[in-house]
C-alpha cells in the first residue's frame, strides 16, 4: 500500500495491459442485466451542470457527458469531442465533435450546445468554471461540429478541465433563455449519456435505463442501473454482503468494514477512478493567531503526528502519507524536502524553543462519519503527548462549513480534490488573493507569502511543462518548510464490487464516468 507513485503506476499499467489482453482474448462483453450500487448520501439533484456534489456526480455522470474523458494518467481521451488540436503557442484549442449524437429528447447535439454550455450556462452556475474561463478570450463554433477556444494567455490546465464533472454538456434548446436554477428539466435530466432517468423514488433508489439512442455503437451493455439510498453505513455493508447491491463505490462504507468485505470470496477491490479528484486530506491551521502564527509551532504539529499509524489503523493502509501540498498522482508533483516523519521529541524541542505556554487548541473534526471522528481523536492524543492540549468541537456539516469559512477554529480537518492540475486544485489554498471570508475551500488558513503567489501565477501560465514543473517544485519546497496547513494523507477510497462486474472503472473519474462500458459476466 505504501509503494511509491512510480511503482503504483507501473503496477496499474501492468494490471491494465494484462486485463486488456485477457479481456480481448477470452471475454466478450455480454449485453443485458442490471447493476445495483449504493449512493451515499442521496443526491440532491441529477442536473450536474448545477449541482456538483459527489453523489449527484456519481449518478449524473451516466446521464451527462463532457467533451473529454481522462485515463488514469490524466491523459485526455475522446468523449463528445472525437479529436482536438492545440496550437503551438498554446492559445488556440480546436475541438471536433462526434457526429450523430442526440440528446435523450431526440434533439441533435451540436457545437451550439458546446458554446452555450461553456459561455452561458456554466458561467452562471459553477464557480469552478468561472475560474477556468478567466484566461479564455472566446469560445466560437466554426461549423456544427467544430468549436474553437481562444486564450488570452497560455493556460495548460484547460485541456484537463473538460471532463463530465467540470463541464457537462447541457442542451441549449432546453435551457437557453430560461432561469437555469428553476428549469423544470432539472428534474428530468436531458443529456447525451449512456443512461436515462427511469425512476427516482426519493429516499429509496434511483433507477436509470439504457439510452436506446446512445451514440456509441453497441453501448451501454447494461439494461438498467439502480442506485440504492441506504443512510446507515453498517446497513450499506450488509446490503453488499447480501448482494442486494454488487458495487460499493469508494467511501460508501466505513473503512473498518473494508478488509472484512474485501476478504470475502468473489469480492474484487480497486483503488482506481480517483486519479482526477486526487483527494488530499489536511488540517487547516489558523495562521492568524498565536501560537499557530509561528512556523515552528506548525512544524511541531507535523512532527507530533504519527501519520503512518493513522494511515494503517484508520485507512487500512489504503492511500499514502502526504509529503506536501500536491498529491503524488497529480502532474507536477515533486518529492522535495523537508518532509516530516513522526518525531515527538523534535516536536517537544520546537515547542520549548518558541516558549509555547500550553494554550489549548480547538479541533474541528470533519463530520463525515466514524473514520474522521476517530482521526480527530488520534490527532488529539498525538498532540497531547507532546504537550499540546486539544478540545474537540463536535459539529455537523453546516456548523463545520460555517466555522471554517468564518475562520472560527484553531485546527480543522478537511480534504479537497485537486481536479487534475495544481493550478486548479492546489493554488487556491495557498495564494493571498484567495483569502476571503465566507468560503470553506479557498485560503482558509490565512497564509500569505508573495513569493508563493508569484510562483503559482508563473506556473499556471508558463508555456512549457518544464517551466511549470520548475515553478511547482520551488513552491512545494517553500510550502513544506512553512507548513501553512498540516498535510495528512493522500486519500484512497477503494471500490468494492462483485467480481462478476466487468469494466467498472475505465476513467480517472471512476464509476461516475464509466458505466457505459460496464457489463456483468454471466
Amino acid at each position: 500500500m505504501l509503494s511509491t507513485t512510480a511503482m503504483r503506476r507501473a503496477a496499474i499499467a501492468a494490471a491494465c495491459s494484462f486485463a486488456a489482453t485477457a479481456s480481448f482474448a477470452q471475454e466478450t462483453p455480454v449485453k443485458g442485466g442490471r447493476l445495483d450500487l449504493v449512493v451515499q448520501p442521496e443526491p440532491t439533484s441529477l442536473m450536474i451542470g448545477i449541482t456538483t456534489n459527489g453523489p449527484s456526480l456519481l449518478v449524473g455522470g451516466s446521464i451527462y457527458e463532457g467533451l473529454l474523458r481522462y485515463d488514469e494518467n490524466l491523459e485526455p481521451m475522446p468523449s463528445l469531442a472525437k479529436s482536438w488540436e492545440i496550437s503551438e503557442d498554446g492559445l488556440t484549442y480546436t475541438f471536433h465533435l462526434q457526429e450523430g449524437v442526440t440528446f435523450s429528447d431526440g434533439e441533435p447535439f451540436t457545437s451550439k450546445d458546446v458554446v452555450f454550455t461553456m459561455k452561458d450556462f456554466l458561467m452562471e452556475t459553477k464557480s469552478k468554471w468561472r475560474a477556468i474561463m478567466e484566461p479564455v478570450a472566446d469560445v466560437t463554433a466554426t461549423d456544427d461540429y467544430t468549436v474553437v477556444v481562444t486564450m488570452k494567455e497560455p493556460f495548460g490546465p484547460f485541456i484537463r478541465s473538460l471532463s463530465y464533472n467540470v463541464a457537462p454538456m447541457v442542451p441549449a434548446h432546453i435551457y437557453e433563455g430560461t432561469e437555469f436554477a428553476t428549469n423544470p428539466a432539472n428534474d428530468k435530466p436531458i443529456g447525451t449519456g449512456p443512461y436515462v432517468l427511469a425512476e427516482w423514488k426519493r429516499g429509496s433508489y434511483i433507477e436509470l435505463d439504457a439510452n436506446p439512442t446512445y451514440w456509441r455503437e453497441g453501448l451501454p451493455y447494461l439494461d438498467d442501473v439502480v442506485y440504492h439510498v441506504v443512510p446507515d453505513a453498517a446497513s450499506r455493508a450488509t446490503a453488499f454482503e447480501t448482494r442486494v447491491v454488487s458495487v460499493l463505490p469508494g467511501g460508501s462504507v466505513e473503512n473498518f468494514d473494508i478488509p472484512r468485505l474485501a476478504a470475502e470470496e468473489g469480492v474484487c477491490t480497486t483503488e482506481k477512478g480517483w486519479e482526477y479528484n486526487a483527494p488530499l486530506s489536511w488540517m487547516w491551521i489558523n495562521n492568524r493567531t498565536a501560537p499557530m502564527d509561528n512556523k515552528k509551532f506548525r512544524q511541531a504539529i507535523m512532527y507530533a503526528m504519527n501519520r503512518e499509524m493513522m494511515l494503517k489503523v484508520l485507512w487500512n493502509g489504503y492511500g499514502k502519507v502526504a509529503t506536501g501540498p500536491i498529491t503524488s498522482t497529480i502532474p507536477f508533483y515533486d518529492a522535495v524536502e523537508p518532509t516530516y516523519e513522526y518525531n515527538p521529541d523534535k516536536a517537544k524541542e520546537l515547542l520549548k524553543e518558541i516558549g509555547y505556554d500550553g494554550k489549548a487548541l480547538r479541533l474541528l473534526p470533519l463530520p463525515y462519519g466514524e473514520t474522521w471522528q476517530r482521526w480527530a481523536e488520534v490527532v488529539k492524543q498525538n498532540l497531547k503527548a507532546v504537550g499540546i492540549p486539544v478540545e474537540i468541537e463536535s459539529t455537523d456539516v453546516a456548523g463545520w462549513n460555517q466555522k471554517t469559512s468564518q475562520w472560527d477554529y484553531d485546527l480543522a480537518f478537511t480534504y479537497l480534490y485537486e481536479n487534475g492540475d495544481p493550478a486548479i486544485g492546489v493554488a487556491r489554498n495557498y495564494i493571498t488573493s484567495q483569502i476571503a471570508l465566507g468560503n470553506p475551500f479557498n485560503n482558509v488558513e490565512g497564509y500569505s507569502n508573495p513569493k508563493v503567489d508569484e510562483l503559482f501565477a508563473k506556473a499556471a501560465t508558463a508555456p512549457s511543462d518544464e517551466e511549470r514543473q520548475a515553478a511547482y517544485t520551488e513552491v512545494q519546497k517553500i510550502l513544506q518548510e512553512d507548513v501553512p496547513v498540516a498535510w495528512l494523507t493522500e486519500l484512497s477510497f477503494p471500490t468494492l464490487y462483485d467480481c462478476s462486474v466487468q469494466g467498472l472503472v475505465s476513467t480517472a473519474n471512476g464509476i461516475g464516468n464509466s458505466l457505459g462500458e460496464t457489463w456483468i459476466k454471466k
Partner: protein, 279 residues
C-alpha cells in the same frame, strides 16, 4: 421508615436494582484510581478480542483503546447526564405543575397549554434539534434531555396538588393566612415527594437511554468517554468486533434496568396508594 425498608427489601427486583446501581456508582467513583491513564489512550492492538490479553479483559476498540477503561470512566458520564438532566427537569416541572394545580383558573390554563405544547413535539426529535443547535456537548445534552422530559413531572404535580388542595390541613393553612407560595412549599410539596421520587427514578433511566441514543446519532460530546459514545463508535464494526458495542450496551441495559427496578420498589414501598391508583 422501617415499614418502608421492609416493603422495599421484600421486592427482590428492587434489591437487585440497588446492587447494580451500587456497582455502577462505585465504578464511577473509583475509575480514575483503577485506570489512572486516560480512557482515550491507545494502549494495545486495535480490535483485540476480549479475554485474549489479560491487560485488556474486555478487548480493545478500533484504535486499540481499552474497553474496560472506557466502561469505568463512562459510568460517571452516564450517571451524571441521567441525574443532572432529571434534576433540571424536576426544577422545571415541579414549580409549573404545582402552580397550575394550586392556583387553577387561567394560571392552570396557560401553564397546561405550555406543557401540552412541549408534549406535542416528538421528544427525541426535538432533543436532536436542540443538541444540534447548541452543538454537541455534555451541557447541551443535559439541557435537551431536561427540556423534553419535564412535562410528565408537571402533569403529575398538578394532579397531586389538585387532589391535596381540598384536604383539611391545606384549608386550615389557608385560613391561617399563609401565602400561596408558603402553602405550596411547606404544606403541599412535602406530601407529593413520594410519587416524584418514583417518577424521577424512571426519568434517570430514560435520560441514560436518550444520552446513548443521541451519541448513536453522532450527537455526543466528543471529549468525554460515555457508554453511548462507545456503542456509536463501535456500531460500524459490529460484525467484526461485537464486543465494542456489546459491553457498553449491556452496561446501559443493566443501569437502566436498575433504575426501573428501584423505581418500582420505591413505588410499592413509598406509595401504596399511588401504586394502587396507577394499578
Amino acid at each position: 421508615m422501617s415499614n418502608f425498608w421492609t416493603t422495599f427489601k421484600g421486592n427482590k427486583g428492587a434489591v437487585v436494582g440497588l446492587v447494580i446501581l451500587a456497582i455502577v456508582l462505585l465504578a464511577s467513583i473509583f475509575a480514575p484510581m483503577l485506570y489512572t491513564t486516560s480512557p482515550w489512550d491507545m494502549v494495545n492492538m486495535p480490535f483485540m478480542a476480549p479475554g485474549v490479553d489479560s491487560s485488556v479483559p474486555l478487548g480493545t476498540d478500533t484504535l486499540g483503546r481499552d474497553i474496560a477503561a472506557g466502561l469505568a470512566h463512562g459510568a460517571y458520564i452516564s450517571l451524571l447526564v441521567g441525574f443532572v438532566s432529571t434534576i433540571v427537569s424536576l426544577c422545571i416541572g415541579i414549580p409549573l405543575g404545582a402552580a397550575a394545580g394550586y392556583f387553577g383558573g387561567w394560571v392552570d390554563d396557560v401553564l397546561m397549554r405550555i406543557t401540552e405544547f412541549f408534549q406535542v413535539i416528538p421528544s427525541f426529535a426535538f432533543a436532536i434539534v436542540l443538541v444540534a443547535i447548541f452543538e454537541p456537548s455534555i451541557t447541551s445534552m443535559i439541557v435537551a434531555i431536561a427540556v423534553v422530559s419535564w412535562p410528565p413531572v408537571a402533569r403529575l404535580l398538578r394532579g397531586e396538588v389538585m387532589s391535596l388542595k381540598h384536604r383539611e390541613f391545606i384549608e386550615a393553612a389557608e385560613l391561617s393566612g399563609q401565602s400561596g407560595f408558603t402553602i405550596i412549599t411547606r404544606q403541599i410539596l412535602p406530601n407529593t415527594i413520594s410519587p416524584v421520587i418514583v417518577l424521577a427514578s424512571m426519568m434517570v433511566a430514560t435520560a441514560i437511554l436518550t444520552e446513548s441514543a443521541l451519541s448513536f446519532m453522532g450527537l455526543g460530546d466528543p471529549n468525554v468517554m460515555s457508554w453511548g459514545y462507545i456503542i456509536g463508535a463501535g456500531r460500524t464494526v459490529l460484525q467484526q468486533a461485537w464486543w465494542i458495542s456489546f459491553f457498553p450496551g449491556v452496561a446501559i441495559l443493566l443501569t437502566v434496568l436498575a433504575f426501573n427496578l428501584i423505581g418500582e420498589g420505591l413505588n410499592d414501598a413509598l406509595n401504596p396508594r399511588l401504586a394502587k391508583r396507577r394499578g
